[in-house]
Symmetry: C2
Subunit: 210 residues, 2 copies
């Protein structure tokens, strides 16, 4: 398998964690997002959305969208499960992951902020936009947990929810959000910080890190 990513891409980071949790290796191909390499014709042939990540399988098939890749990994390599428990538990894990992947990340990603800058938004308002989206979103995510058992978001082992959480916390820090009151989220972040699969997936530990 070849994973097309970028050290700082939140979505590629999720997939790196998933691969590590499953004990799977992949060849990593890096595309520099800030240099626009995801819009190069060769990459657009793989993923017409021009977004990272994309997973190229050995037979040449390509899977796009980080959560679709994670679900595929979970179906093909079920242990350890990214979606443990019964259907209701899985639904709650998916809902948490989607609350980040749909309602926070796309509204504060590089593309949207670049669009705001292109429309002559002052830089402090661009940064403020990202900070507000992330702050409000993370507070809602904490409430979605309604307490629950730790140390990870949904119990004793990391799930699809945790692998969405950690890159989003990276963005929260970059934009100066205050997450200090988010007890369950902080507990999960600490548990992930000690987990080898998360450590190996961190941006600063990728070969293309700057």
């Amino acid at each position: 398998m070849r994973l097309h990513g970028y050290f700082r891409s939140s979505a590629a980071w999720r997939v790196r964690i998933a691969l590590n949790l499953k004990g799977l290796s992949a060849e990593h191909v890096f595309h520099h997002l800030r240099h626009g390499e995801q819009r190069a014709p060769d990459y657009l042939r793989l993923n017409p959305q021009g977004l990272l990540p994309a997973l190229e399988l050995d037979d040449g098939s390509v899977i796009t969208q980080s959560l679709a890749i994670c679900e595929w990994l979970d179906e093909n390599h079920p242990e350890p499960p990214l979606l443990p428990g019964g259907a209701l538990e899985r639904a709650r894990i998916r809902a948490f992951a989607l609350a980040i992947a749909c309602d926070i990340h796309p509204v504060q990603n590089l593309k949207v902020l670049a669009r705001l800058r292109a429309m002559s938004f002052p830089e402090e308002e661009v940064t403020g936009w990202a900070r507000t989206v992330i702050q409000d979103g993370m507070e809602a995510c904490e409430a979605l947990l309604q307490g629950g058992e730790g140390p990870f978001l949904f119990g004793g082992s990391p799930t699809l929810a945790d692998l969405c959480l950690i890159p989003q916390i990276g963005n929260a820090k970059r934009f100066g959000c205050d997450l200090s009151g988010l007890t369950r989220i902080n507990a999960a972040a600490r548990a992930c910080a000690d987990h080898p699969a998360f450590i190996a997936a961190a941006p600063e530990n990728q070969p293309d890190a700057e």
Copy 2:
């Protein structure tokens, strides 16, 4: 089951289609998005994100996020499948659904446009923002299909991808996008337009339609 929705909410519309495809009935509770009813304390207790839809189960459990609800419905009521085929086919269907649910809809929804207006963006630029996001996104979605068999997006029956497509086409029309060149998407839209599950789920056929 009780589905909390709003006739014009794209995400609630997806779930209505899924329920209809499965032949399931639910009590519908409507919350007026433009009046901010999704931020009422009673509703926030159900869904701290303050977003629609939410599915309340008979035992009081609540599932949020339209795609998590659809996956739950598919796990509990497998026929007809929203994610047919093998793991790779399911991954392609999920990727298409996520391309809409993550990369198009959240960047053009009511909340984001209201935020742009609050930052004194001229109305024509707000509308232009939505139109560009949808136009570019739908063209990428067409390319994701790479031809493939119709009449629906992934073959002879509607899937999770189609139930994300149709509400997004509704938004595309509202903002004046030109989808005339999107052959496969238009073919699927025509097939859905004749399908009873899609007809019954349309906004204009809901009791709260204006």
